[in-house]
Symmetry: C2
Subunit: 334 residues, 2 copies
DNA sequence: GTGAAAGCGCTAACAC
DNA sequence: GTGTTAGCGCTTTCAC
């Protein structure tokens, strides 16, 4: 078992000829206690010599903290979103010595999310929900017990919670302007069913109205996120006697599908059909043509969420809503 | 702080009118000690009543285990691979009450990987490297100290370690057979630089020889994994006086790029150029045409890796190599 | 079949 | 400026 087995702060103390307390003071840079330089030296070199690593479990035991944050996502989460966000979360947490415990939202075994169980058993000190659906009962439960938690998603949840999201609905105005400036008269939307509730369709309607273009309901295609549904529903758009000139896709996946179906129907993109996507993907540059998109700052969203959570866990008051800027990136598809 | 603050096994014991030891025996189903049914009942109902959750930190302290496994990946990991594998890892770990601590391979701050630090400070009991590069010095370090660890990747590492990978090089024979059966005479390869070392190019060469087709070096394109390099290098393939009829792409990303460049050069896929990919992706069905691919069993790979690690952490002897079957899935691109 | 008590490695109040 | 000491909440040996 090598060096791992034994070395404790007691060993370090003995080696350096001081008490365990002194070692602890030095390790934790306790402000209120002054250590003589030579003592500090002795301890530090003993630490080096013995290859001592403070046992975080013991530390957690004493402090009643696990120094870990649960990051919850849905199993079917968009991988790219999650991983990029995770990087931001991690970088923010690392500075404060917090680790990431990965949790999935609802497994077969835990009807109400294992995050509650993990929090109750002191395995995590706080929770970040990243693109995860969160039901009201869990939410209530957490509020009652003052569980520190933060939501990250592209859109606001509409709930009274700490959360980080983007302004990418506001970018839809720019998308429409771009479409119109390129001569599009008929503008459609393709996206998931919930687009009507979460403001995506509404944002498009308003942007169109501002341009004096009415929203034509026939050009709105909403469907569930599985290959058959998407495939069929989207095709129907191109079977209309008069196809739209431009389509806003509610997510990258919908964008790729729209592109694919359009090409199969013999439409030239962007000449006969423009496509722009709401959201980021690793593959926008790899489609033919490359997809224009409203890109979201995933890394920063993760970073900010972690920052807010850390404050929360420290018992501080923090702003409830953090909104980060998205950016319209025009590529070849519009 | 609600129920979280207080309830300990001592409280449960008091409530049930038994000792702390008894509570522990019941909770851990200790075989060697028989509990009277009514005692058990009393304790269980006290647990319910008080909403008691054993403190995992305290438990870890006593057992000298954190009950968490570090899962390490590179920052630039292919998201889809990682997330799918993670699901398998998680399902295997959950049964044994292990949690996942997510780690990245080399941050700016930890030259030699934070996984060593995490292990040394008892934050994790073992490590899974998922599609992560692992340098020899870290490897030696871990072997010396008997750190339990397992590698998961699509190809074998060639090192004497516990690892899980696929046989997807063997599927290349099938890929070639398919190409040839469809009339391809000139077969090329597009992939990352390391393809020559990790056996991908070699496997193709052998598969071709078995079909009596020589490997034409001009049809081998190797380049680094960034947009400019891939873009340029792959295009060169289609600027040859005689283009290949079929291309094996070393990874999904290379496959998408090949497709894109081919279409840009006016080639019809699959009629004038067939493309098949080594590896899995969420987007194979979304390209136009849909990409044929040798799909790898990511979930199972994760599950098996976790299984092996658990045995290892339990001090058991385990098989060093686990090879899982891949599958050639023909879609529209070949 | 159950309980008393020791101790895991750390932190922090208090004593000197 | 540094040491002594009392736990944190659990598991487990040993006694009854």
């Amino acid at each position: 078992m090598g060096s791992k087995k034994g070395v404790s702060s007691r060993d370090v103390a003995r080696e350096a000829g001081v008490s365990q307390a002194t070692v602890s003071y030095i390790l934790n840079n306790v402000e209120t206690v002054k250590i003589r330089p030579e003592t500090r030296e002795a301890v530090l070199s003993a630490i080096k010599k013995l290859n001592y690593h403070p046992n975080q479990i013991a530390r957690g035991m004493k402090l009643k903290k696990s120094m870990s944050v649960g990051v919850v996502t849905d199993r079917n989460v968009t991988n790219f979103y999650f991983m990029k966000t995770l990087e931001g979360i991690r970088d923010a947490l690392m500075k404060h010595n917090y680790s990431i415990t990965l949790l999935f939202n609802r497994s077969e075994d835990h009807a109400d999310g294992e995050f509650i169980e993990y929090y109750s058993s002191n395995r995590i000190d706080g929770i970040i929900f990243a693109f995860a659906s969160l039901d009201d009962s869990s939410l209530e439960y957490m509020k009652e017990r003052n569980v520190p938690f933060v939501l990250v998603d592209t859109l606001p949840s509409g709930k009274d919670v700490h959360e980080v999201y983007t302004d990418h609905l506001n970018r839809i105005t720019e998308v429409v302007s771009h479409f119109v400036s390129k001569g599009a008269g008929k503008i459609g939307y393709v996206g998931p069913l919930k687009s009507r509730n979460d403001g995506r369709v509404e944002a498009l309607r308003q942007a169109l109205e501002r341009k004096g273009v009415p929203l034509d309901e026939r050009y709105i295609v909403l469907c569930s996120i599985n290959d058959e549904d998407m495939s069929g529903s989207i095709s129907s758009l191109f079977e209309l006697s008069r196809c739209p000139d431009a389509v806003l896709a509610g997510s990258p996946r919908f964008g790729f599908y729209t592109l694919k179906r359009a090409l199969e129907h013999g439409l030239k993109v962007p000449d006969e059909l423009m496509v722009t996507v709401l959201g980021s993907s690793n593959y926008h540059n790899l489609s033919h043509p490359a997809l224009s998109a409203v890109e979201v700052p995933l890394y920063q969203m993760g970073f900010e969420a972690a920052r807010v959570l850390i404050e929360l866990m420290g018992g501080k008051e923090v702003e409830k809503k953090v909104v980060l800027p998205s950016e319209l990136v025009i590529r070849d598809s519009s």
